[in-house]
Symmetry: C2
Subunit: 193 residues, 2 copies
């Protein structure tokens, strides 16, 4: 086997990013916090919520003798839904986690059109749909009902301001366990139904 | 680039299987039928149910200039949950589709321990959990409440007989659209709650 150390270094470095879907390191942290919270909720019998695997189109697989199938050619696919879903108190939950480097607003260009369509469908079928948005430079995280963002989105408005998150969302505080107790905010969404 | 036609043929052939998670071709057909049914349910505003992507551990990614990131080393991971979940009439649905070549029974060795644990947790949180099992040689497909299989499983019983599927399950008929109308059986599960 021939080694190309300069190639190897390059791919390894970029690999760190691609594993987190090209989000920034801060994006990774939000996802990690949610994953750890979901683990806490699951292990303590509070809810069953999981991150969906990243969809990958497999093109070629090798079968080295006596070892696991090795995928040698594959490509990332655009997800057709959101990142997270699960069940809590009998409710279907579905949400997307996003982070923004801006201080004043969250720009909807961060949301894929198919995610908008998916969340609309979830609401139509009686599920609870929301966004968790982190303003990374402010170190503040909000949960906001997806219907608020959908309403703005369909009115042609292209962002939701920080002030509107303050007024219409629920600020999520970090703690040790769960890291982000976003189900406390979901309880408030449920109480409004 | 050097071509190894004999290698290429080999990987392509095996690739057909791995894309369907080493199930038989019939297994592939059941998954396809469910996927087509879910597409029908989604497009007709009946339910929002998706197959989760197969989890893959990405090890190495190449970035060819001006083209998409290319995964060059990756491995299949064992899924930690079931294959399908979604929302229907406000209920959280979660299920696994399995096929068996046996004519007389469905052997629980086909179910991973983590799937059992997951479905138990789904039931605990108020979700609707079930299996869709296809007896490929009989060309018969049943939906059965996961709680029935869980009860047998925990009693140390290692299979569910074809007769029990007939008695305790709901036979699913194939049609044009949806291919398998499994939500008709889910309606019966809901009516028993």
């Amino acid at each position: 086997m021939i080694n190309y150390p300069h190639h190897k270094r390059k791919t390894n470095k970029k690999n760190e990013n691609i594993n987190y879907k090209n989000h920034s390191r801060r994006g990774m942290i939000l996802e990690n916090e949610i994953d750890l919270s979901n683990k806490y909720y699951l292990e303590n019998g509070i809810a069953n919520i999981h991150k969906k695997p990243t969809p990958i189109q497999v093109v070629k697989v090798d079968y080295p003798q006596r070892s696991a199938a090795r995928i040698v050619e594959a490509y990332y696919k655009t997800p057709s839904t959101t990142d997270y879903n699960g069940v809590y108190k009998g409710y279907y939950l579905d949400f997307e986690a996003k982070q923004t480097n801006l201080k004043s607003k969250f720009v909807f260009a961060n949301i894929h059109a198919h995610q908008i369509k998916h969340l609309q469908s979830v609401i139509q079928h009686g599920g609870i749909a929301f966004f968790i948005v982190q303003f990374t430079k402010l170190n503040e995280t909000f949960l906001v009902d997806a219907s608020i963002i959908l309403e703005y989105y369909h009115s042609g408005i292209k962002s939701l301001s920080y002030e509107e998150f303050k007024n219409q969302g629920y600020e999520l505080k970090s703690s040790y366990n769960p890291r982000i107790d976003y189900l406390a905010a979901v309880d408030l969404l449920i109480s409004k139904r």
